[in-house]
Each structure stands twice: as structure tokens, then as C-alpha cells.
Symmetry: C5
């Protein structure tokens, strides 16, 4: 657990929770989930001492839950946001396989192993509580970046310190959403592999479990994005109900907070659009695969029919001249065989030509 | 029927309905459906004596109905919630079958036998009336637990007594929702059995009635969850219309009630998401099954075509040399047969090689 | 046409429309559609004399329309509800057929002959006008029941007389909705017949017109229920806009009216859910039918392929030994035939075993 | 272009636009689209002189557009309604074809040639401007009917003159909606032809372009009806925002206008329901067609398999006795042939019986 | 970057941003994206000097983003609209291919290369900022047209200068929407090519990647249009919240702005309807293609079955008379062969006739 005091241009790490709230700026208290499980009683006592109200027990339970979908709730003391992080597990990217089997196995592994653990935020007026999964890179990123402020021009605003717990929360949420970008590259690559396997070697595809995993994964991602969107949408709705201030500086801050919230929402919607496009494109590829399969079956049937149509009459002729009748015509003539053979040749070629003309035998099967 | 008086830290079972409402705390009157059918007249009289208004006749009929879907209604005197319990019937879990046929039969039994009986709640200001199915374990659970309060830390709040009829109702509803967890294990296991039957022994699956039952069951569960969600959503909407109090303690209680209600709603939505995921995943498995079947038909067609294509020409050759022409070439030469046989061997192997190259004969069928 | 005066505990049939409105209670004027077509002018004059306003011409036209879907409209003088009755035509139930063809014909007849004629209600403050199809059993039922009031306990409220035109209208609408129950038994039975025909004798089903009729019927029932729901929902919305009274008795009546209206709405929603479940279940049965058909085609293909694969090589052997080469091996040896026959037997059995092992020949086709 | 002055019971055609607005009643100015293109400047000048405001340029452009979908817009001076007329082109009905090919060609022509040109209405307080397609029968119908008023009883209200521009507009829109009735007969007949072609001669249907045209046509009709519904819905919403009057006569007129508007909306919804039913029924017929085709393919496969299964063993026997082995059994016995022939007959009939029993050979193909 | 001052009838290009805002009229500052990236600091300083507030950093980032979907946002100082331009890339139209392969390749190229870059608008009270993609023809078009005003009658209003930044923005957006018209011609042509390829040469279509591209393209166009619609809808909603003015001229301008905004919205909805119609029509064509394919497979199966059914019995006869029995009947008679041959001929023709009668052999395959 790490504690910070942020005020104007200063960003100071504290060794422990202060006995009193600082007169200006705000506190950021960040815990890993395990740490919060042990210390939430202590945190509650500090909240009470700071006159910030109390975390409701149900919310504490939500913050400790490792599986909760994205969610927003509120009380008169604070707003609570649970936000699922969508990220590629480290190590998934390392070895690009050489052969198709390897690539499909890698895709299977990737679809099955997307990290989706929730971060919890409780936004008080002057305190931000964040609860992270174990080893969460997001906390370290922000603890580091906010301390430095060394970047040059950054239009998305991280070049200056956040002025309120809500702004810090929104920046962290935006960072979580942008982490989808990495995942996006990964998903696009593995779905491309799958699509190629479906379209190219089309008649031998049989990796149904992979296809099932891919569909379930995309459907789950869509659900997660939809939950993220609802949660942020509810945050925006709650923001509009915050008590109005007549101080122009507060009004300005509030307006910027709203702009930033809508920006986060728009980022989530772009992720959602992208996931839906992947879903729709995968479904189309599966459809095309089976369409091609139908064409192929049709071509095979045509071949079978043509073979049957050519050889059955020829076999009939040989059968006729193979009968044991004494009076079988032609058989005792010298040219008899060649006449029959010529007849068979003509018939075979004629039938072949006929079917080729009727396009039963295409060049493409 | 059992009656309780709950006040602050005390939880007392009463022998019968008291003549007057206690000055503080609230009453909980619980009936089984059959008991309520016999005693609702008496309960109405007590309500009138306590100055709590009257149960509307239509609502009494709803409380006695064994098949009503989840539903919320209200009058100025009380709120009425009918809430369907989703639970695995006892005994369904006992013997895990050894062979696949047994497992499929167990799945069939499980899908057909999910218990979905409704509990009824009438929430007055100081009285909670609950009407249970016969032998309902929920009443005994709460009668027992509330009497003991012996558990340690419990963040979901059951370590302290409820402070109002509404809170007790919400805790019972939450308990009902969580009972889906057991069912979830059961459903997941049996759908897994079905999925394996569809994917593995793919060409011999013919248990269509089981598939139909599974689909109907999941669709019914989705409907039930949607009705649960609407009912609780309407309860939350009604809660917002309750008259405002200026007493801060009442305001605080009301706020906690709202948090708890939204928590129940979120639990129901998680059940709904899970049911929909099962539905979508089952439909995908069925699709994959038929896709695999299509591939298999295609492979069989290819085999048939190749067999025909190889043997018909060979048969033609034997037919030719089986004709009774006097002048048939080769037949009187010593090596004649071996020449013909060599020709046939070459032709057979050549055609086989050709089709193997064109991947008509894959290693996987 | 029949006219009634209802006041408190009294229910009196009048010979004709009274010249003046009774001082207390309300009037119920009921017409068959044909009667109303002849007498609406007269009814309008009475309305004017009673100072109840006028029926708008467009509404009179709606009341006379035999095909109108369920609908709600209002003016400042009255509310108008058109409500479609869903009922099984009498006589459809009589002879349960003995054989399947008879049962399918009965199903066809039943699907094509569901009665869906509309009843019209105009609800004034102290007058209820109802317009019925010819020979409508609903009017006789209510005229009879309200006159007797002899039943014992009846929680749905028909044991006491309605206190307002609106309540009487709601009771009649509820009666109409409950008449779906009969139809429900009929539909369930005939759809069961159809489902069994699809699943059991699966490869010979060809009664497509019946299937088309069943689907169209269910779709039409869904539409009708949706229209019923919209109409009652709009009635409930209009009810909330009625002018507020400060008389507690009026407030109480109004509240009970709202409870009753929501109860009717809930009944309609249950019908709608049931119809949708039938629809979804029928579609699933059709899908399963074609799935089973696909399996069967696959099994037939496998049989054909195995037959071809076993007999073509055997035929080739007979062909070879049927050729007329002088130097054909084995043919002049005594055991020659038996060697060839043994070879053919071995090959045939070996191929049979091979395909049996590869599960080309299952026990189930 | 024709101009009328309507006041109370009088309906007078004017030679030209009057210099001043009449003191009572209202004006109806009707143009064909080409006429309005030439004279809209002049009409604008009259509007200004009458102090009725100005048509916004964008609206003038909409009124001149021949392809605009149904649409509603408003300004503080007037309301603008564009409403698409759905009608059968004259001449489509004339010759009912004798043979199926002729009927299908007639259907193709009918689907491709439904007239859907827009009428424009601008509703001022005392002026109605209508812009019609060339040769529009609607204007002539109303100019004629309103002048006569000779019909007897007409509940839909056309037996008396409209009292405001809005009422006249609504009557004309209602007339446009009812013109769907004719089209409905036509569509139902041609879709019936198509359905019969799909179901009866089921294995030879190949008129895909007609099917495509029918589907596109129905989809387009659905869109048009949805646009009509939105436009009238928006008109109704706008009506509720009209300034309130305290004059009871004005209030009464306004109420009747609302009743009439909702009536038009209900008519449109009935058209929409009908179009959707046609759509859904067509899709079902197409599905059934392919289902029947699948059954037929299955039956053909069964026939092929049975033929193969019967003749291949018989051919094998002839092959065996056709081999040239010296020691072939039976061949030198007198009854040898008849023994073999009996064996073949028995085998053939036995196999035939076996397959007939297993229902491979049904009576229905 | 180009700057303009628009006031009443005057349209003047400025060399640089003026130090002070002009007393009347408004400024239009237009940048290409690259230019704005370099000069946005300077523009911010001018905004501050003119007392117009500040562009929020997040919005500046949006204006610089090359990939943002259509979007609307607002602050108390300005409204921000990002609007995606849908246009055919220049050069796509040039060479209409002669053969089908060339046309399909052109379609592939066209679907893959639709330009969809966003334009950004920031609408201040007296300043319009527009940010264009590099080489955007829209800016040059407006800079040119507004300077000339030489056209004659133009009902859509571009014959007079815009009176506010919002009106200029709406005119530019409308111009962007209308640029879909060109694209529409292109799309319709290429989809027609694809449709013909699917329907005509139906059994050989295998250009699945093109089909996939076409579907993805149409789906993407639908998304883009939906985003455009949402953005303009939000603009219209924001317009309704603008502070009310009591100046009639301002009110009139505001009303015209709303009319124009709704007109733009209606244009976008027409594009959306058109895109959806193309989508639905493409899906129908694909379905028809596979339906036709199924018919063809069925016809081929019929042919195969008839061939087998005719030749197998004939072959059996030849086999019988080819057996080596001494007592084979007929073979030693003079007419023996001709009797057998006649039998075979009769049987073959009889079977052919039988199948022709049962319509197994249609004229259409
Ligand atoms: Mg989904
Ligand atoms: Mg979803
Ligand atoms: Mg969800
Ligand atoms: Mg999308
Ligand atoms: Mg979709
Ligand atoms: Mg559903
Ligand atoms: Mg549902
Ligand atoms: Mg439901
Ligand atoms: Mg979901
Ligand atoms: Mg879902
Ligand atoms: Mg669905
Ligand atoms: Mg539906
Ligand atoms: Mg519907
Ligand atoms: Mg409907
Ligand atoms: Mg449902
Ligand atoms: Mg449903
Ligand atoms: Mg569904
Ligand atoms: Mg559906
Ligand atoms: Mg639709
Ligand atoms: Mg639609
Ligand atoms: Mg549509
Ligand atoms: Mg539409
Ligand atoms: Mg409908
Ligand atoms: Mg429908
Ligand atoms: Mg539909
Ligand atoms: Mg879509
Ligand atoms: Mg979409
Ligand atoms: Mg989409
Ligand atoms: Mg989208
Ligand atoms: Mg549309
Ligand atoms: Mg559509």
C-alpha cells in the first residue's frame, strides 16, 4: 500500500495515512487487494477521523471481490467505481510460431488467457481510494509518472497534476481503456491466423474448440466493454447531480471533469465498436468457410456424376460383347474389336466433351 | 407459521401474532403457502388492529399463487414483491454416472427438474409478511441465523440484525439470488456433458429431446432472471418515491437500503449474464456440431468419388479383355496378362497418387 | 341490448335507457355490434341528455369495426378501449382423432380457426358502454354472475359488485384474458402433435402447409398480445392523469383501480410470455428436425460409400479372372477358384471390419 | 393549381389566390409539383401579404423534391408534413394471366412498379398548402367530394366540411393511408402466386430474381410505413405543444384533431403490421421450400443407395460365375444356372424387402 | 491555413488572425490537420485575447486525431463537432473494366479504398474553427463559393452568406453528407457486379475475400452513418439548451438554425437507410446464391441416381449372359442375342421414360 498527497504542483509520497486531512489538495491511498483485506478497518477509522463518512460494508465487499464486473454505485459521501482491466497477460506475445499448427495453438492460448481483473475506486471529496489486483502495473505507472512530470507536450493532460480525486480516477480509467490497444494488436493477429486457416486450407479445418473459444472470448469482451460503458455512463449521470457551486473556479473544474468523463466514454465506445467489428467479421469468415465447403461438395458431386456417366455406358458395351451368345455380332470379324473399341473411344470422348461444355467439369474445384 | 419481533440487538420468536404492534422494532410474520391460505383472514384482522391498512384481495391471491412469475406491486400501505426462487432440487446431485449414456440421462433429469417456486413479501412500515412454498429452507435459514449472530466478520451485513422490514426482505432476496450459485455448478456440468457429446462422438449424436430440453430450460431461466430484474428494478424505483424524511438517521437508513437494493440488482444481472453466456455457448456448440458434420459428409463424398474414379477405369479394362472378340489383342501372348495387369496397377496407383496430391484423401476424415 | 343499474349491493336490469342518470351508482349499457349499429344515434341522445358529452364519430366507427386490433384512446369525456378476445371456437375440441393423420388435420383446423373478435368499451364517469360481437358469451356471463353474487370466497374480487364503470370494464377485460387458458390447452396439444410428427417419423414429414399455418398463427397471437399489452399500458398511463381528488374514499377506489389494472397487465404479459415460449420451442423443434435429417443423410452416404468400397474391389477381381488371356494364372489349377474365392472373402470381410472399426457403420442410422 | 375557400358549410373554388385572407374559414391552395416550382415565389408574396410568415427555403426545396421519404418539420409559423403515397400503379391489375409463368411475370411487374411519390402539406393557421405529384387523384377526389357532401351517414366524418387546415390535412393523409387497401389485395395475390410456386412445383423453382424483388419490395414498404409512422407521431407530439386556448370551442376542436391524428396513426400501424406479416410469411415460405428440397435430396440419396446395395451383390455373383476358372463349381451341372439365378432372385428380393422395411423406400419422395 | 471574415454580404479573406474580433459578423479560421498541430498554441492565444475562452486540451487532441469517429462535445464556451467524411477516393472511377474478372477486381479495390477521414469543427459565438485532412476539397469549395455568390436560384440557401458560425458549420456538414451521393453510385455499381457474379455464373463463384470485404465495408459504412447521426442529434439537443434570447431577429435565426440542423439529420438518415438497404439486399443475394447452389446439387444428384438406376440393371443382364454355365438359356439360339438386346433396350428406354415422367430429369438443371 502506498499513500500520496497531491496539491497544486506537488506530489509527495507519505509513509502512512496522516492523522488529519491536509488543508489543501487531496490524498491518494492505494492498496493491493490483499493489503486492503487486512487494513480496511484501519482505513475506515481514518475516514471517520477525517470526517469523510464511512465505506458501506457492501462496497468494501465489492472492492475485495476479484471477479466483479464493471460497476458504479454512490452514496452521499463518495462514489464507487469498479472497472475491469482488459489486458494481454505478459508472456503471451513472446514466440511467434513458425508453422500454422503452432500459430493456431498460440491463438488458442491467447484467447483463453486475457486478463480481466477489476480495479476499485472510491472517490471522496478530498480522498481517492484505489484497490488494485496483486502486482498491478497501473499503480506503479501513475506513482512514477505523477512524480516526474518530465514529459513534454501532452494534450491528454498528464503533463500536469490532477486537481481532484475524480480527475485522478478518470486518468487511471482512461489508462486502463487504452491498455486495450495492446490487446487489440494481439486479437487482430490471432483472428487473422484463424481466418486464414478457415479460408485457405478450407476443406481440412477441424479446430472447432479453437473457434468456440474465439467466439466465447469475443462475446465476453463485448460484455465487459458494455459493462464498462454502463459504469462510466452512470458516473457521468451522477456527476450531473453533484451540488452546484457558484465559485467560477469550481464550475470550471467541474466542466473539465465532464469533458474528461465524456472522453473516457468515447474511448470505451471505440473499443466496443472494434470488438463488435471483430465479432461480425469472424462470423462472416465462418459463414464464408462453410459456403466454400458447399461449393466444394458440389464440385465433387459433379465429378462423381461425370465419372459415372462416362464409364457406365462403356462398361455396358464391354458387358455386351462379353456375353456368351453364339450369335454375338462382330466378334468373329477381324476388325470387330477395333470397331467396338472405336465406338467406346468415341462415346467416352463425346460424353467428356458434352459435360465439359455444360460446365460440369470446371477448371476450379 | 412463525412470528418474530426484531428490535435493535434482540430477535425474539413469538408464539402468536401480538394484539398490538410493539412500540419499537418490527414484526416478521412468515407463513407457508398452505398456512396462509387458512389464516389470511386472521392476519388481515391483525393488520387492521395495528392500523397498517389492508392487503388488497388481488394481492392475497397473488401470494397464494404457486406459479406467479417475479413481480412487484405497491399500494400506499405496503409494497408487494413476488420473487421466484431458482434452485436445484435436492437429490439431483447425488450419483455422478460412470458412462456417457448415464451422464446424458442425468443431464436430462436435471434440466427438467429445476425448482422455480415463488416467495411472496409484503413490506409494511413495521411488519414484514413472507409467504413461502412448503418446506422452504430459506425461512429456517433466516430464523436460525438471525437468532444466533455468532459468525465473525461478514461484510455483506448479516452479522447484525436488519433494522427494517425492507432490509430483511432484501437480505432474503439476496439469499435467493445467491442460491443460483449451486444451480450454476450443476448447469455448467451438465451442459459440459452435452457439449462433449456434441463435439467428440460427433457423427452419432441423436439425443434431440435432450438438446430441446436444455434449450428450453436455458430460455426459461433467462425469462425468470429478466422477471426478477424487472421486479427489483421496480422496487428501486418505488423506493425513490418514498416520502422524504428530515431525520438524518432515517435518511442514512434509506441510503443504505438503496445501496443494498442496487447490490441485489447487480447480483441478478450477473446471473442473467451467466445464463445468457450459457445460452450463447450452447448455440455455438450446436452450430459447431453441424459444421463438423458437414465436413465429415464432405470427406465421405471425397472418398466415394475417389473409389469410383479408381475402380471404374480398372473395371473397364477387365471388361475389354473379357469381351469375346476373336481378334482381341494381347490375349494370346504369353506376357499378355502381365502387360494388362501392369497397366492396371500403374493406372490404379497413378490415380491414387493424383488424388492424394489434390488432397482428396486427407489423413483426417 | 341490455341495460343495468349498479349501485352498492344492488344490480338491477333496466328495460330501456333511463331518461335521467340515477343519482348514485352507475349504468351499464351493453349492445351487440349489430344492435349498436342501429341504435347509436339514440344512445348519443341519451348521453347528451345525461350531460356526459358525446361519442366522437371516429370512435363510434371503431366500436362498429369487426377487425380492429386492441387499442386505447381517450377524450375529456370518456376513455375508449378496444380489446381483442382470444378464444377457441366452440366445436374445435370435440373429437380427438385416433391416428396421426387425423390429429394433424385437427391441428390444421385449430390453428386456422382461433376467434379474435374485438370488444369495445367506452368508460364514462357514471356510464359504461360495451359493444360485443354477436352471441358473445362474456356479456351473458357477467349479466348472470353480477346478478347472483352467490359464490363463496373469491379473492379476485368478483364476490362483490364493481363500484365504478372502470372497475367493471377491468373485470371484463380480465375475464377475456383468462379465456386464453382454454386456448392454451388446445395450442399446447396441437403443437405437441406437430412436434412429435417432426421428431419421430422424422424422415417422412412433409406437411409444410401445416407448419406454415402454425408459425403464422403463433406470430399473430404474439401480435395480438402485444397490442393488448399496449392498450392496457396506455389505459394505466391515462389513469395516472385523472384529476386528483382529496376525498379519501375516492383516493382509495382510485388506488384499487390501479392495482387491478396492473394485475390485468401482468396477466397479459404472462400470456405473451407463454406465446413466445411456444414460438421459440416450435422453431427449435423445426431446427432439430432438420438436424436429424442431416444426420440421416450423412448415415446414408456412409452406407453408400462402404458398399461401393467393398464391392468395387471384389468386382475387379472377378473381372480380372474373367478376362480371356491364355496365360491367366491360377485358372487351370484345381484349387484356383477356391484360392480366388478365399481372397475375395478375406478382402470383403477385411474391408467390412475396417469400416466397422472406423465407425462408418454405426448401429444407429 | 386550384384554390378553395372553406367556411362553415360553404366550399368555394377561387380563380386565383385572394389579395387578403378571408375573415372567416380557411384557404386551401393546391399545386402540382411542376406548378409549385414555377409559382412558389408568388405564393410566398401572398403569404407575406396575409401576414402568415414565410416558407423557409429548405422546406420549399423539400416540397419540390420528388423522392423525399415521409417527414415532419415545423416552424413557429407553420407545420410541414411530407407524406409518401403508397399505391398500385393503374393498369397493373388488368389481365390476370392464365398460366403460372404469366402469373409470375405479372408478380414481377407488380413488385417493381409500386408508386411511392410524396405529397407535401404546409399547415398554416388559416391556410393549407398542398403540393401533389403530377396527375394526383387525391386532389381531384377531395375537390369533388367536399363540393358535393351528398353522401349519407359517414362516421369517419367526411360528411361535413373540415373546420381547419389541420383537419383537412389529416383527412387527406387518412385517404392516402387507406389507398394501401387496394395495394394490399394486389400484394396478397402476387405473394400467394409466389408461395404456391415455391411450395408446389418445389424442386424446379428457379425464379431467384423475382424472389429478390419481392423481398426488397416488402422491405421498402416496411421502411416507408415506418417513416409514415414517425412523421405522424411527430405531428402528434407537435400538436401537444400548440399554445393552449381558453376558448371551449377551440379546446373541443383541438381535442377532435388529436383524436383524428391518433386514428390516422393507428391506421398506419395496421398497414405496418400487415406488411411485417407478409414479410415474415414470405420468409417462412422460402424456408419451407428449402426444407422440402432437403427432404427430396434425402429421398433421392436413399434411392441411389438402395439401388447400389441391391445390384452390386448381384453383379458380384455374375462376375464370379463369369470367371474363367476350370474348376468353377456348378457351371457344368444342368440345373447350375437356375440355382445361381434362384440365388440372385432370392438375394435381390430379400434386400428389397429389407430396405422397404427399414423405410428407405417410402411411398412419398 | 486560411482565415475569413464574414459579415452581412461581405466575405473577406484575411492574411492572418486579427488581433481583435471584428465588431460585427464572424471569423472562420480553417487549418489543415498538420498546420493546426503546429499553430494551435497561437490560436489559443488569439482565443484568449478575443475573450472567447480556451479550447480544452482533450478537444485539441481530438481535432488532431486522424481516426476519430463522428462525435459531438460541448463546453460553456464552444461546441465541438467531429464529422467523418464519406467519399470515394479520386481515381477509383476511371477505367471501367471490360471483363468480369476486371470488374470484380475493381470492386475489390473500391470497397477497400473508401475515404473516411474526420473534419473537426469548433463553433464559438463569433468564431468558427475548422480542421481539415490534408488536401481537403471541402475547404476550397467553400472558400471559392462563398466568395462568388454567382449562382442563380438555390433553395438550399447557399446563394446567400451564412449569418453565424453554426450556420456555416451546418452547410459544410451538409456538403459532406451530400458527397455520399457520388459514393452511392460507385457502391451500387460494384455491388451490382458482385450480385450478377453471384446469380449468373452461380456454380463457379469463389471470390470469398471480395464478398467478405464488401460485407465489412457496408457494415463499416453503417457504423459511420450511425455515428454521424448521433453526433448531429446531440448537436440538435445542445441547440435546444442554448440560452433564450428575447430579440426577435435572434429568435428567427435560431429557428432557421434548428430547421437546417433537422434537415442535415434527415439527409444522414437517408444515407443510413440506403446503406442498410444495400446491406440487406447483399445478404439476400448471398442467400439466393446458396439456394440456387442447393437446387443445382439436387439436380446433379438426380442425374446420378437416374444413370445408376438405368445402367445397373442392364449391366446385370450382360453379367448374367456372360456367366460360364453350360446350361445358360438362349445363348445357343440364333436370335438369342437379339432377344437379350431387345430386352435391354426395352428396359433402358422404359426406365428412362419412367424417370422422365417422375420429373427426375428436368429440362432445367
Ligand atoms: Mg451479443
Ligand atoms: Mg451483449
Ligand atoms: Mg451484460
Ligand atoms: Mg457497431
Ligand atoms: Mg451485429
Ligand atoms: Mg431471449
Ligand atoms: Mg427474453
Ligand atoms: Mg418475459
Ligand atoms: Mg450479456
Ligand atoms: Mg449477450
Ligand atoms: Mg438472437
Ligand atoms: Mg416477433
Ligand atoms: Mg411483434
Ligand atoms: Mg404489432
Ligand atoms: Mg419471453
Ligand atoms: Mg423470448
Ligand atoms: Mg430469441
Ligand atoms: Mg429472434
Ligand atoms: Mg424489421
Ligand atoms: Mg426497420
Ligand atoms: Mg429497415
Ligand atoms: Mg427506416
Ligand atoms: Mg407486428
Ligand atoms: Mg412481428
Ligand atoms: Mg421481424
Ligand atoms: Mg448492424
Ligand atoms: Mg450498428
Ligand atoms: Mg454493428
Ligand atoms: Mg457504433
Ligand atoms: Mg430504414
Ligand atoms: Mg435493416
Amino acid at each position: 500500500m502506498r499513500f500520496f498527497h497531491i496539491q497544486g504542483e506537488r506530489f509527495i509520497e507519505l509513509a502512512q495515512l496522516p492523522a488529519d486531512l491536509p488543508a489543501a489538495g487531496f490524498l491518494w491511498a492505494s492498496y493491493e487487494r490483499g493489503e486492503f483485506d487486512q487494513h480496511y478497518g484501519e482505513f475506515q477509522q481514518h475516514l471517520q477521523r477525517w470526517d469523510c463518512g464511512q465505506l458501506v460494508d457492501l462496497h468494501t465487499a465489492d472492492l475485495l471481490n476479484k471477479q466483479l464486473p464493471s460497476n458504479f454505485d454512490y452514496t452521499s459521501w463518495y462514489d464507487l467505481l469498479i472497472f475491469t482491466r482488459l489486458a494481454a497477460l505478459p508472456g503471451l506475445e513472446e514466440r511467434p510460431a513458425d508453422d500454422e499448427a503452432g500459430r493456431l495453438a498460440a491463438a488458442q492460448a491467447a484467447f483463453a488467457a486475457i486478463e480481466t481483473s477489476p480495479l476499485g475506486f472510491a472517490v471522496f471529496d478530498h480522498v481517492l481510494l484505489t484497490v488494485h489486483p496483486e502486482g498491478c502495473p497501473v499503480r506503479e505507472f501513475f506513482a512514477g509518472k505523477l512524480g516526474q512530470l518530465t514529459e513534454g507536450r501532452d494534450l491528454r493532460g498528464s503533463a500536469r497534476l490532477p486537481t481532484s480525486p475524480a480527475e485522478l480516477m478518470l486518468r487511471m480509467v482512461n489508462h486502463l481503456v487504452d491498455s486495450y490497444l495492446e490487446l487489440r494488436r494481439l486479437l487482430t493477429r490471432h483472428l487473422g491466423t484463424l481466418q486464414r486457416a478457415l479460408m485457405e486450407g478450407n476443406s481440412h479445418f477441424d479446430n472447432w474448440p479453437l473457434l468456440l473459444t474465439a467466439r466465447d472470448t469475443l462475446h465476453r469482451l463485448e460484455e465487459i466493454s458494455e459493462d464498462q460503458r454502463s459504469a462510466v455512463q452512470e458516473w457521468i449521470d451522477a456527476l450531473d447531480e453533484w451540488p452546484v457551486s457558484i465559485d467560477p473556479a469550481v464550475q470550471r473544474d467541474r466542466e473539465l471533469l465532464r469533458v474528461r468523463s465524456r472522453d473516457v466514454l468515447e474511448h470505451i465506445e471505440r473499443v466496443l465498436t472494434h470488438v463488435r467489428r471483430l465479432e461480425s467479421s469472424s462470423e462472416a469468415a465462418v459463414q464464408m468457410h462453410f459456403s466454400a465447403l458447399g461449393h466444394r461438395t458440389n464440385a465433387i458431386m459433379r465429378t462423381l456424376t461425370v465419372l459415372t456417366a462416362i464409364f457406365l455406358p462403356l462398361n455396358l458395351i464391354t458387358g455386351i460383347f462379353g456375353m456368351n451368345f453364339d450369335g454375338l455380332p462382330l466378334i468373329h470379324k477381324a476388325a470387330g474389336f477395333w470397331i467396338a473399341f472405336g465406338l467406346m473411344l468415341t462415346l467416352g470422348l463425346g460424353l467428356g466433351l458434352y459435360f465439359w461444355r455444360k460446365r460440369y467439369l470446371g477448371t476450379r474445384h
